[in-house]
């Protein structure tokens, strides 16, 4: 996929959806899908492109959500500024965890473990600390004005989510086509070889982690504004760490559109789970876990990979046909 134009086309198409329907159910589905796509794109940068699998991206999502909630509730900060601060806070947490982990040389399973642990520490702290509302959580005051980043209808949220996703797609696309992107992928493929070519592996990983965290934190900040409620389980719980990695893996890790495609699948599966059992806890995650295993087993490059393979099959068929024709 060369250039930014495919992104603009996709976004334009999605922007036209409200012409077809303004049903709150559909819009809600799409908004939450876009939110997961955003969070997943963050994971995708570090995991898909960089090859460093984080099992604790909740740490950044939750920090984004709490940052904006706390700033608004405790310090009366404007919601939009709070949102910007959420992204910065997420990036900071990402930088700290990244600095510690990568300087210690953690990779592979050890890195996954340590990210899991960090997310859990934050969750436990948030569940008891007064500033995060302890066991009760935080409720952002209802104030349905655009200045407060709240709206009467879902439509403005939809467009904002779309804009955020568009931004994340463009950022990743630009990285893909840059030296940083080339270095990031080299680190994923073979760290030692990358070092021998002048790549500062620790700095590359650290940078990727910080940007990844910032994107994911934006998703968290958006969540806080859309649902107006945050608690430790929502902010730092395993559910979001799993969805953050599931979307890109299903859609195609290391591709620009992977997280968006995958987020759609994840949300559809989630809706199916709800249909089957109402609100019984656990079923949606069971499905997610099962799908994760199936995707890894049968389609490790995700949907994007399948599309490439199918295209390859068609191309081969076309080539063979052309060969036959030239012979005959």
């Amino acid at each position: 996929m060369k250039g930014v134009s495919p992104i603009l086309v996709v976004i334009a198409l999605l922007a036209l959806v409200p012409i077809v329907t303004t049903s709150p159910v559909v819009l809600n589905f799409l908004v939450t899908t876009l939110m997961i796509a955003l969070v997943g794109q963050g994971w995708n940068l570090l995991g898909g492109y960089g090859g460093q699998y984080s099992f604790g991206h909740a740490a950044f999502f939750g920090t984004g959500a709490y940052a904006t909630a706390i700033l608004q509730l405790r310090y009366g900060v404007n919601a939009w500024l709070g949102f910007a601060a959420a992204i910065a806070a997420g990036a900071l947490v990402g930088a700290i965890i990244g600095a510690m982990s990568f300087r210690a040389g953690l990779k592979g399973s050890y890195f996954a473990l340590v990210t899991l642990a960090f997310a859990e520490v934050l969750r436990i702290v948030a569940s008891v600390a007064p500033v995060t509302g302890a066991g009760v959580g935080l409720l952002i005051k209802l104030d349905l004005r655009p200045e407060a980043f709240q709206f009467q209808s879902r439509l403005p949220f939809y467009f904002i989510a779309l804009a955020l996703v568009a931004a994340s797609l463009i950022v990743v696309r630009l990285i893909e086509d840059s030296r940083f992107g080339a270095y990031l992928v080299a680190v994923r493929e073979n760290e030692e070889a990358a070092k021998a070519l002048g790549v500062n592996v620790v700095v590359v990983k650290f940078t990727a982690m910080s940007v990844s965290a910032a994107i994911t934190a934006a998703g968290g900040g958006f969540y806080a504004q859309y649902f107006l409620f945050v608690d430790s389980g929502i902010a730092y719980g395993p559910w979001i760490s799993i969805e953050a990695l599931l979307a890109p893996i299903i859609g195609g890790a290391g591709t620009v559109f992977g997280p968006l495609l995958g987020a759609l699948v994840v949300k559809v599966l989630g809706e199916i789970a709800k249909l089957l059992t109402g609100d019984a806890p656990g079923l949606d995650l069971i499905i997610y876990g099962g799908v994760l295993i199936l995707v890894v087993a049968f389609a490790p490059r995700g949907i994007a990979g399948l599309i490439v393979s199918v295209r390859g099959v068609f191309q081969k068929a076309r080539d063979t046909a052309a060969l036959e024709r030239s012979r005959g």
């Binding site: 080339a182 030692e192 070889a193 070519l197």
Partner: protein, 251 residues
């Protein structure tokens, strides 16, 4: 005489109880091809790892371009002009040949377009021009060795460490690769090569160092080395030199 570009000075490397390298010293003159030979397990690759920053010596110093570079990490040394290839090729498996080389080209070229263009030029110099868009894993052994070489060249090194770049090639592939290496040296790059293929060592190297059990046991021109009984013993075992001269006397 000018100071050599590379001066490995009394380097030792200990791994737990094993002394892999024992007070080894060698030099590489600027613009020349130097060979490092010796039986398997002698410590040659360990020395390369130390010179390229992948390992730190237990004792000794490395001087490069007149400065002490001991202990600096690989990526810093790459920026200062030291490139190495790996004995077991280490391609970026998921990338194409062009993308592989471009990672090296990017060192001095921030823009993607420039790096990709430079990668093409390097590929053509090592005769990989036809394979630019192939996935790196689809290359033959000879192709992978060329890719390994191309990537190292892409960072425009002054010192090129080749670790058995001819290993695994059939005789005609070896014959094809040798002029490539000669051409690199002719362009002013200092080459140090670890090699087992004596034909290449004899015809390419201007200076040879022999490493056995971690120690430098001989040095000189290829001609001197070939006749040196200590070298023969190192490769063929104790008493081999004597048996050979005795055999020659009888035959």
């Amino acid at each position: 005489m000018a100071e050599p570009l590379l001066h490995v000075d009394n380097v030792s490397k200990r791994f737990g109880g094993l002394l892999a390298v024992d007070k080894a010293s060698f030099t590489a003159e600027a613009g020349r091809i130097t060979a490092l030979i010796g039986p398997n397990g002698a410590g040659k690759t360990t020395l390369f790892s130390i010179v390229s920053g992948f390992a730190a010596p237990t004792e000794g110093r490395i001087r490069y371009q007149g400065a002490d570079i001991t202990g600096q990490p690989p990526h810093k040394l790459a920026r200062q002009g030291i490139a190495r290839t790996f004995q077991i090729t280490q391609p970026f498996a998921g990338l194409t040949v062009r993308e592989n080389i471009a990672v090296g080209s990017h060192l001095f070229r921030p823009r993607r377009i420039d790096a990709l263009a430079a990668a093409r030029a390097v590929a053509e110099a090592v005769d990989l021009g036809d394979a630019l868009d192939q996935p790196a894993i689809s290359l033959t052994v000879a192709g992978r060795k060329r890719l390994e070489l191309a990537r190292a060249l892409a960072i425009e090194p002054r010192l090129l460490l080749l670790d058995e770049v001819l290993a695994g090639l059939n005789p005609s592939e070896v014959r094809d690769m040798m002029p490539v290496i000669r051409a690199i040296a002719n362009r002013g790059v200092t080459v140090v090569m670890i090699e087992h293929i004596m034909q290449a060592v004899m015809s390419l190297a201007e200076q040879v160092f022999v490493l056995s059990e971690g120690r430098i046991i001989a040095q000189g021109t290829p001609h001197d080395i070939a006749a040196d009984p200590r070298v023969i013993e190192a490769y063929l075992g104790h008493g081999a030199a004597q048996r050979m001269t005795a055999g020659a006397a009888h035959g």
